[in-house]
Amino acid sequence: MVNDIVQFVVSSLSLGGLYALMALGLVIVYGILRLINFAYGELVMVGGYSLLILGKTVWPWIFVAALSVAMAVLASVLMERVGFRPVRNASPTTMLITSFAISALLQNIALLTVSPRPQAVRLPGFFVQTLTIGGFRVKAVDLISLAVSLILLGVLTVFLRRTIMGMALRASADDFTMARLLGVRANGVIALAFAISGFMAGIVSLFWIGRSSLVEPAVGLQPVLIAFIASVVGGMESLKGAVLGGYLLGFLTVGLQSVLPQSLLDYRQAVTFSIVIVLLLIRPQGLIGGTYAREAR
């Protein structure tokens, strides 16, 4: 029984941390451009295919993983430069549709150049090990992803609070025009937001694909959906909200998996989304109301 609870907490925290990173990658861009970048999932895909292709070399896995994250960052910055910058001053709808177009384009490139079928990715042995710590059996990958997400949340917090670039990013998310009037370079701060978003997607791709060890063109669909739901639940404009929403969704997913009877497991997502709908009916602004709530004051 105790073992079950420990396992439940560890898997929830692990999955929640992963969801939180997904949501952060989406919210950090939304906060500045008011763009929900639905091509975010394809950054996870880029990370995944980099893992696949670079994994066929003899390079150590950790090196391959680092390169894959770098590829996701590069893809994200390029996406902004080539795809979003030309339409930056257009309507929010135009930007949204652009993000769908980029998403479809990247998926189709993967489909045509690699394969429409799922491909197996080389994973290091520790990903599939089960450890026994103090009598409790936990999956190693859960512990690693839990630790990585906590470390990244810490690093991001320090970066945003203490560094010049972090301050500029936060100021821009609060009032972009004002930040620019004080000397913040718009192109620089937007590129930075996309780089962070790409970094999150890259890290997410390692663990998301690590769960199934498969990569396919649509591999980013679920991460972007989860990120979107987590950030809507948490509060679209608040980074704290994104993290909170991510962990909440993680606990909900793992919780339902262990609570629901076998026959209803297929409806897990339906139940999750119903709970999300109820939550939004009670708090439409999300759990942590961001700028919207203040402006309505």
Binding site: M167, A168, D174, L181, G183
Partner: protein
């Protein structure tokens, strides 16, 4: 052709020449030329909708200029993006105060110091404290900006503009919503800023006593055009100004 003191080539001055800003068919600013120098306080007045705020928005790069030129210290900054204009020494405040609500008072001012020039964090912090002390709100530094009363919000905004080390300070209705004693403090603060930092201050306000007491020169707009320019005494006696103001108040009444 132009004399060195009022031409665009002049140093230590902000020069607007024939500035036009149109919104569809509306000419919000219609060929305004003005010069103001460092160390000078220029009042910009006019009835509601005469183009004062639009002019400031154009000068600071918030709005794209339709026609005309803007020169700062002998550099043509026409069409520059706002962050570059900020870095040549233009800072502004807003009619409705816009602070970074997520930040503390100190951070609000610090981020301005950091953004306007490539200076290290410690120097930026020092500059922020100096600006806070200058406007007399150093004791509020750790407060969250969202928790401030209106009068203090204005002072934070001015401190934030000062932290960018401006040569020209453009203040859009800094006296709006302030109580009588707060206006007195504001007047004193602006005088010291001019004396100690030597910046040029352009001030838009509807409070005529504030304008008349503070300004060296006054520039009057109506329907986006200049209708008078001169010392407070000259402007006060100008028939076009009297008519514009009486006409406006008669319409409003």
């Amino acid at each position: 052709m132009t004399s060195p003191t009022d031409g665009p080539g002049a140093t230590a001055s902000l020069v607007a020449r024939g500035v036009v800003k149109t919104f569809a068919a509306l000419r919000a600013v219609d060929g305004v030329s003005l010069t103001f120098n460092r160390g000078e306080i220029l009042g910009l007045i006019g009835p509601n909708g005469s183009g004062k705020t639009t002019l400031i928005n154009v000068l600071t790069g918030m709005l794209r200029i339709t026609a005309g030129e803007v020169w700062v210290n002998g550099t043509d900054i026409t069409g520059w993006p706002p962050h570059r204009i900020a870095r040549v020494g233009l800072a502004r405040t807003f009619q409705v105060v816009r602070l970074f609500h997520e930040f503390s008072v100190l951070e609000n001012v610090e981020v301005a110091a950091l953004s306007s020039g490539r200076i290290p964090r410690r120097e930026a912090t020092a500059r922020a404290w100096e600006a806070l002390e200058r406007v007399g709100i150093a004791h509020l530094a750790p407060w969250p900006a969202a928790a401030l009363p209106q009068g203090e919000e204005r002072r934070v905004e001015i401190a934030r503009a000062l932290a960018t080390a401006p040569e020209f300070l453009l203040l859009d209705e800094p006296g709006a919503g302030l109580t009588e004693p707060e206006v007195e403090t504001l007047l004193a603060t602006l005088s010291t800023i001019r004396r100690d930092l030597g910046c040029g201050i352009l001030i838009v306000d509807h409070d005529m006593r504030l304008i008349m007491r503070l300004c060296d020169r006054i520039h009057v707009l109506n329907y986006g055009r200049t209708i008078a320019e001169g010392t407070p005494d000259e402007v006060r006696r100008e028939p076009a100004v009297i008519e514009a103001y009486l006409g406006a108040s008669a319409e409003a009444g």
